[in-house]
Subunit: 201 residues, 2 copies
């Protein structure tokens, strides 16, 4: 073993992160070694505090500060409680919030149905979503899971569960991305853009 134990263990820890291979892990480790003490220490402290200082919102299961029962969106009296946008994870909430075009509430499933990975309905926050609908006051559920195989399957399952409860269930529109190029769009996207075509107004 040519590398000191402390570097080797940092490289191993970095390698376990998604999208970081052995080469990037050693690059990062040596970068941290050369960088000012602060850089490594800040990261170390942020990691140590991560789980202790976060919790999940008791209503929508978005990530929130530890000690607060509800997240900012659920707490706000300005948000429309009749509308719930269902997403896979907290990052999706952020993405939608950044658009500034949504005034309803959210529900974070914390994953998608994935038989291959053994993730069934009970592993997601689906019961909790049904409970929110059963409590009344919800008019529309927007299914905003990813436009992937798992995301579509999850959306289909949710529709089957929720529609009988008398709530309107919608799904995010599919089509060409804004600024995209027709020539480079994949077949499925183009097919969805065609079949979902809308009258201009």
């Amino acid at each position: 073993m040519l590398l000191p134990e402390s570097i080797q263990s940092l490289i191993s820890a970095l390698e376990r992160l998604p999208g970081i291979g052995p080469k990037s892990a050693s690059r990062l480790a040596f970068y941290l070694l050369r960088a000012s003490d602060e850089v490594a220490q800040d990261l170390s402290v942020a990691l140590a505090n991560l789980k202790a200082n976060t919790a999940f919102c008791q209503e929508c299961f978005n990530i929130t500060e530890a000690g607060r029962p509800l997240c900012e969106v659920c707490e706000s009296p300005k948000r429309d409680s009749t509308l719930i946008c269902v997403v896979e994870e907290s990052l999706d909430v952020l993405a939608i919030e950044r658009t500034g075009g949504y005034q309803g509430k959210y529900h974070v499933l914390q994953g998608v149905l994935s038989p291959i990975e053994g993730i069934g309905p009970d592993d997601l926050k689906i019961k909790q979503l049904a409970a929110r609908v059963a409590n009344g006051g919800v008019k529309e559920i927007i299914l905003a899971t990813n436009p992937s195989m798992e995301g579509d399957a999850t959306a289909l399952y949710l529709r089957q569960q929720l529609e009988p409860m008398g709530v309107k269930v919608t799904r995010l529109a599919r089509g060409l991305p804004v600024g995209g190029d027709l020539e480079y769009a994949d077949q499925n996207t183009l097919l969805r853009a065609l079949s979902g075509r809308q009258e201009m107004n």
Copy 2:
């Protein structure tokens, strides 16, 4: 601010690493949040211990365990002390060691000459290399800095400094990479492969 402070600070700390942009930083932060406590804790501890447990070899300036004056290579009586391979950083030592084809010693410059970044000869371990040569016993210096503009400039500077001291100075061979494709080789590489052509034996 929609994200809890502890996640936001982890994302900021991750963003400062090379090759990690805002998107990857948030992905990594949420991965760490979902992963078992162990993953984040291991990384936190490894980072905290990083600098305290490492030092530089007093002879070749390769990275080594704190408390040991010399690295494994410099300590070993089996290595050829008449041969010094000069590299930019510790990772390069690793790369050459992995080939298993080098039995000499090393010298880690800890960087390259770079006027743009304000890195001059005094910022590198060049004086210490000259001192090793001056101490006698060294027959050949292999310049193994990167085949980049800065690496070449550094090699040129080192040759000017070391050749007058009566030591043989060589540079790693340039040419086509093994398994490479002539058709895809860039112009400069092909030019070097042509001018450096060798008789087959």
